[in-house]
């Protein structure tokens, strides 16, 4: 992207790193996408050629490709939507705790959230299967709710520590006669916009790689798999597992690379900006 660096214009100098970072982000994403797709294609080609040794679950190459695309779509959509579903309640909890509660209670609630965050995914997956899956007849909804339940404690603690740094802003706003909603909407949220984006992307990356919780939650439904659960089933994990198909498992793990690399590159570029 051509950027004017002559003329001594202060504004131009200040906006240049941001523009460069956007260009770098676009280039890196394109490069990661091309490389990971090439790697995936090479893996499909090599594994198809050795299908008898590695095992493709009895599927032809075109069937495998369509299966990978379908599962990749399901994985990305449910991860993004599930985390988005948890984002607003977690942010509201963070705002409520940081702005509406007195300090000692705020400290205790934050610590409680920090402790709840330690509950492992396998336990959360079990809770989803037992209590949420029976209430939802749709596997997509169940998966999204399961991912949002997984993301909620971590998002809450992240937002608590983020809004916990706002005491200065809060005091300044109150001295100027601002009310809580004005402080949050006009001072705090705009200041933390990038951090919120980073927190969201981080949670999406985690949701994309989530395995055991999702496989337990999806065991209530048949025929719905994400890339990770597909890989797990292909090596024989779970009750409804088919005959081991190592080739298929490898392909599904490799297919996780394009979305994950783009999310990580975006996080890196946003952090470095």
């Amino acid at each position: 992207m051509p950027v004017c660096i002559k003329g001594g214009c202060g504004k131009e100098t200040m906006t240049r790193p941001a523009k460069n970072m956007k260009a770098a982000w676009a280039w890196f994403c394109a490069l990661a996408l091309v490389l990971s797709c090439l790697l995936l294609a090479a893996c499909v080609f090599l594994i198809s050629a050795n299908a008898e040794t590695l095992g493709m679950g009895g599927l032809r190459t075109d069937e495998v490709l369509s299966l990978l695309m379908q599962r990749m779509g399901l994985t990305i959509l449910t991860a993004a939507a599930g985390v988005a579903l948890a984002l607003l309640p977690a942010m509201a909890l963070g705002v409520g705790v940081s702005y509406l509660l007195p300090w000692p209670i705020r400290l205790r609630v934050s610590r409680l959230g920090f402790c709840i965050e330690a509950i492992p995914a396998v336990v959360l997956g079990y809770m989803t299967m037992r209590y949420i899956a029976p209430a939802t007849s749709n596997p997509w909804l169940c998966l999204m709710l399961s991912l949002s339940m997984l993301a909620l404690p971590r998002l809450f603690t992240e937002f608590c520590s983020m809004f916990g740094q706002d005491d200065g802003i809060r005091m300044a706003s109150e001295c100027l006669g601002g009310q809580t909603y004005q402080t949050v909407l006009h001072f705090s949220l705009p200041q933390h916009a990038r951090e919120i984006g980073l927190i969201y992307l981080g949670a999406v990356a985690r949701a994309l790689c989530e395995g055991v919780a999702v496989i337990i939650a999806l065991s209530a439904f048949e025929g719905y798999e994400t890339l990770v659960t597909g890989a797990m089933r292909a090596v024989g994990v779970g009750m409804g597992a088919t005959a081991p198909a190592l080739g298929l498992a490898i392909l599904q793990a490799v297919a996780l690379l394009p979305p994950l690399s783009i999310v990580y590159i975006t996080i890196y570029c946003m952090r470095e900006r």
Binding site: L93, C115, A121, E158
Partner: protein
């Protein structure tokens, strides 16, 4: 003024409603789990049979910590004392990348590379978990050392100590509690990890570690899995609680922000 007050009330109401939704999503399943665990306990649930799983988990934990802790500590201490800033940044980036490798990739790698040679027993599981937590622990240790005020090290050097002696005798005592918190975070990770282990094992055997056993019981639809889930979740929560700082500060994450994988 009244309009502003009205907006403030509306804002508070929206925040409270969304918070209630979040609390419901978080608290209701935990309440149901406690109820199920209680009824399983009253029926004489899985607790007697859990001994094998607890033993397997403790064995894995002990072996992994025994291998990983000295390596991570040595690496972090070396990174604090020896390299230049440029080299250090490169090593940090490499550690970051290694720590970001998802559990599914490591588990599959172990299934392909380790399982054919070592079988799917404790040896493979230990090596897999070592690979899983070593970058995480090294990164955390290194971060703890890098947060030490440079004056401490300078004071040690001015008193005539070498860099290693100053690091060991002046810096180390100042960060011991933080290092212990890193170790506990590592313990949480080992006890809670299931995806990588399941991928290594394939078909899940009986008497494996707690997280894997919970998966097996949940797939069998056993009621007493609730008890196991509560024990595992509760233990990890208590561990986290024990490592919280006593001083009047909001809790901070031990793991680096770049590490998004958790199981």
């Amino acid at each position: 003024m009244e309009r502003r007050n009205g907006k403030n009330w509306l804002f508070t109401a929206i925040v409270l409603a969304l918070s209630a939704l979040g609390l419901f999503l978080g608290v209701w399943p935990v309440y149901r789990l406690c109820r199920d665990a209680w009824s399983a306990l009253r029926q004489g649930g899985a607790l007697p049979g859990m001994g094998l799983n607890v033993l397997a988990s403790l064995k894995l934990l002990g072996l992994v910590m025994l291998i990983v802790t000295p390596i991570a500590f040595g690496a972090a201490l070396w990174m604090y004392v020896v390299p230049s800033k440029r080299t250090l940044n490169r090593i940090r980036h490499a550690l970051n990348v290694l720590a970001m490798v998802p559990a599914v990739a490591l588990g599959l790698l172990a299934h392909i590379v380790l399982a054919p040679y070592l079988g799917d027993g404790m040896a493979s599981m230990t090596i897999l978990m070592c690979l899983f937590v070593l970058p995480f622990l090294t990164y955390n240790f290194e971060r703890v050392f890098s947060e030490v005020p440079p004056e401490l090290m300078d004071a040690g050097l001015l008193l005539g100590a070498g860099r290693t002696a100053a690091a060991c005798r002046v810096v180390l005592p100042a960060v011991t509690h933080k290092l212990i918190r890193c170790l506990v975070a590592c313990v949480e990770r080992i006890l809670g990890e299931a995806t990588a282990l399941l991928l290594l094992l394939g078909v899940v055997p009986e008497g494996s570690v707690l997280s894997v056993e919970l998966f097996r019981l949940s797939q069998l639809g056993r009621q007493d899995a609730a008890l196991l889930a509560l024990c595992l979740g509760g233990t990890l929560m208590l561990l986290r609680l024990a490592t919280l700082e006593r001083k009047n500060e909001l809790p901070k994450h031990q793991r680096p922000e770049e590490m998004w994988q958790r199981d």
